[in-house]
């Protein structure tokens, strides 16, 4: 009796489980009936998040995470009948790069076009993962983009990606806090440090001028650029040569400046991109954030946001006695990988994806992108855009537009993540007080040189 009861119960359980599993396989599988793996090299051309509008034409695979991508791709597919894009969102930033690395290493599975941020291009380049677009006539598009953006996608004589957007850096600040304590908006770093003193004294250390994140990554690179440092000099024309300069006066000046502020408890040391930092910024613990234009969508969404906060933007402080220098943090490009079946076609698609005015506006409005096209930057459509949250301030006209046009471009490290990790490690040590800012710069230089030599580079 008991045996039969057990059997019935188990059968029932097994039956339900199987049915459920089968149902899930049926609807949880791929949207189409292709469903197979990659045909030879390259990502699957049938597993798309969008619809292919025109059949029997070449398909280009694309991994991207811009907010507007779904609509942009649809728009492209509708307006082109000789090529179609098959898009998937393979994750944002580091997640996508992991997958890209893996597929490049395994010689299969990589998309034709990949969204890659500027600072990662050299790292993929050095692995031999990107196609040189000059072989497919990319030069004709050069004038569409700002000088800085073009420099960032070039290496030596080659061009390895098409710029999409930029991140000109400015200073976001709490107007209400400044007004409350009678602080003038700083325009130089010296004024910034003075404001830091003033604010901390006035609030007993409750409110600080800002935050210095050990994992600043791109932000720190922008600071270094602004001070005139060129930490890396690398060009894919001579890929085994590299020049590393991370402990020159300019670099030390930047490190010294911020570590001094930290030592005097005038800035916070929260890690960036953590809820800790967002809450602190939202609840008014920090009065400024030196972030690019794209931070404009993050600020309204800060956790614990003070409902009476009044945010405005101002240009980034400059170094006293030095020429004003605009800098950039972030922004992405579209690169063509070596696993593309038809690199010329992929190059064309990448170059033209954001070309039409309609797509550009989509990028601005839906994607929140600050496009790297001067035509867009200087257009009245873009310049006159008021940003509601910031009291209708015309951010692009007043601050970021010119900053982007003036940005000259930098050279990024060919081993990005290692550089960022080492920088974070040594800055943490400096923050803890175990080493001085100058020692941090020296040790970083030593560490980078060792690594470069290990990796077969010749130091110049």
């Amino acid at each position: 009796m008991r045996k039969r009861k057990i059997q019935t119960k188990s059968l029932l359980a097994a039956g339900m489980t199987t049915t459920l599993a089968l149902a899930l396989v049926a609807c949880g599988g791929n949207d189409d009936d292709g469903g197979g793996g990659g045909e030879g090299a390259g990502a699957s051309k049938t597993n798309c998040a969008n619809d292919i509008k025109v059949q029997d034409v070449p398909v280009v695979t694309y991994w991207g995470w811009f907010e507007d991508t779904a609509q942009t791709v649809d728009l492209f597919n509708e307006s082109n009948d000789d090529v179609q894009i098959c898009w998937t969102n393979a994750g944002q930033g580091a997640d996508a790069y992991t997958k890209l690395s893996t597929s490049l290493q395994s010689n299969s599975g990589a998309p034709d076009i990949a969204q890659i941020e500027y600072d990662w291009l050299n790292s993929f380049l050095i692995q031999g993962g990107l196609v040189d677009m000059t072989e497919h006539g990319i030069e004709e598009y050069e004038d569409n983009f700002t000088a800085g953006a073009w420099r960032d996608v070039s290496s030596g004589d080659g061009v390895y990606a098409v710029p999409v957007d930029l991140g000109p850096v400015g200073m976001w600040y709490r107007q209400d806090i400044f007004d409350q304590h009678g602080i003038a908006v700083p325009t130089t770093w010296e004024e910034y440090a003075a404001a830091a003193q003033q604010l901390s004294a006035a609030t007993g250390g409750e409110t600080l001028i800002g935050n210095f994140a050990p994992n600043g990554q791109g932000q720190h690179y922008a600071f270094l650029d602004q001070a005139g440092a060129t930490p890396f000099d690398f060009d894919n024309g001579n890929p085994t040569d590299i020049s590393i300069n991370h402990n020159d006066d300019a670099s030390k000046k930047v490190f010294d400046y911020w570590i001094d502020l930290v030592d005097e408890d005038l800035v916070g040391t929260d890690q960036a991109w953590t809820p800790e930092f967002s809450t602190a910024l939202g609840t008014g613990k920090y009065a400024t954030a030196i972030y690019p234009v794209w931070y404009n969508i993050h600020i309204p969404a800060l956790e614990g946001a003070d409902s009476e906060a009044v945010w405005r933007a101002a240009p980034i402080p400059q170094w006293d006695g030095a020429e004003a220098r605009q800098v950039n943090w972030g922004g992405s490009t579209l690169a063509v990988t070596v696993q593309a079946d038809d690199a010329a076609l992929a190059t064309r698609v990448a170059a033209e994806l954001y070309e039409s005015q309609e797509t550009k506006e989509l990028g601005v409005e839906v994607g929140g992108l600050f496009l790297a096209y001067p035509e867009m930057i200087e257009s009245s459509y873009f310049q006159d855009r008021p940003y509601e949250f910031y009291g209708g301030q015309q951010l692009n006209k007043e601050i970021f537009g010119q900053a982007a046009l003036d940005y000259e471009g930098v050279t990024f490290s060919p081993f990005t993540q290692f550089y960022y990790d080492e920088s974070q490690r040594l800055l943490s040590e400096a923050i803890e007080g175990n080493i001085s800012a100058e020692e941090a710069a020296d040790e970083l230089q030593a560490s980078l040189e060792t690594y470069a030599t290990e990796q077969g580079f010749t130091l110049k």
Binding site: A94, S101, Q271, P275, E276, P414, F418, E432, Q455
Partner: protein
């Protein structure tokens, strides 16, 4: 062996002097039949990739150079790599704390739950095991929030005691913060294994003990523990292996505890970052195998030390 064969049909002398009788050989062959499904999956999805990974570890692929065969150069590099060695020391330290703590707690709880049979004990059993059902990543994230000075209850708790709340994600506290997370997550799993062994003990032994006048404590110490020793060794080995391969919690907490957890905090994390952040897949393979070797040695030492009690001769 002879007792069981006595019941079977008298054996013909085997064609070749192999082990036991023909019947026994035939039934022994069924061992492979049972093992086959697992063996196939094992060979294809574990041994084969491992072989390829080992092959990869014998090559170097520098960023500026190309890929070339390098023999054991990667291994030489690994064992002289200061970051790998300090990571090893660190996980060794973790193992010395985690393993006794978790097994000890698991044992204590299993004994108590075996003894006390009330609704509270059933509820507790469920509560202790429940964290295991939560994926490691989620558990670490949850504790990351709990440790946070902005959202967590712990800061409020310290305020209540009028004590300065320690930063639980700082360098000084991260070791114990991680210990707490791992203990919370895994004690239940080991406890259930030990509990199940306790459940399978013949109750007449307890009768005999009670008649002999043993207290509950004595029963626990002198009867139950010796009987479940093989389970303890089992869980001990797994805990040891798992701890030496410590990965999930440091990786999840690294963005929140950037000062405390660097890219080479544990050897497994180092291998992961080498592969996916620095694109050094070959060296990452070598580090993985070097770690595997260390784990193997540690397990051997552990098993030899507990040889007589393990039931695995």
């Amino acid at each position: 062996m002879s007792a069981s064969t006595a019941l079977e049909t008298p054996a013909r002398p085997p064609a070749t002097p192999k082990r036991g009788t023909t019947l026994e050989r035939k039934t022994a062959r069924f061992g492979w039949v049972f093992l086959a499904p697992f063996a196939v999956v094992f060979l294809v999805f574990l041994v084969l990739p491992l072989g390829y990974a080992f092959w990869m570890s014998l090559h170097t692929n520098t960023l500026a150079g190309g890929e070339q065969f390098a023999g054991l150069a990667n291994y030489t590099r690994a064992f002289t790599d200061e970051r790998f060695l300090s990571g090893l020391t660190r996980v060794g330290g973790f193992a010395l704390v985690f393993v006794p703590l978790q097994i000890g707690l698991a044992l204590v709880f299993a004994l108590i739950l075996d003894d006390v049979r009330t609704r509270l004990s059933r509820f507790t059993r469920l509560m202790i095991f429940a964290p295991y059902a939560i994926p490691g990543v989620i558990g670490a994230l949850m504790w990351g929030f709990l440790y946070s000075p902005s959202f967590g209850p712990l800061v409020g708790f310290f305020d209540f005691l009028n004590v300065q709340a320690p930063d639980l994600l700082s360098r000084d506290s991260i070791f114990w913060s991680l210990t707490n997370i791992v203990t919370w997550q895994w004690t239940g799993y080991y406890m259930i294994i030990i509990y199940a062994s306790l459940q399978s003990i013949d109750p007449s032994i307890y009768e005999a003990a009670r008649i002999d006048g043993a207290t509950r404590l004595q029963t626990a110490l002198q009867i139950k523990i010796p009987i479940v020793t093989s389970s303890l060794v089992l869980t001990g080995v797994f805990a040891l292996i798992g701890t030496l391969q410590f990965f999930t919690e440091p990786q999840v907490l690294a963005p929140l505890a950037g000062n405390a957890i660097d890219a080479a905090y544990t050897p497994n994390l180092y291998a992961y970052n080498l592969a996916f952040s620095y694109q050094q897949f070959n060296y990452a393979s070598a580090i993985s195998f070097a770690l595997g070797l260390m784990v193997f040695l540690a397990s051997i030492i552990f098993l030899i030390a507990t040889r007589r009690k393990s039931g695995l001769n």
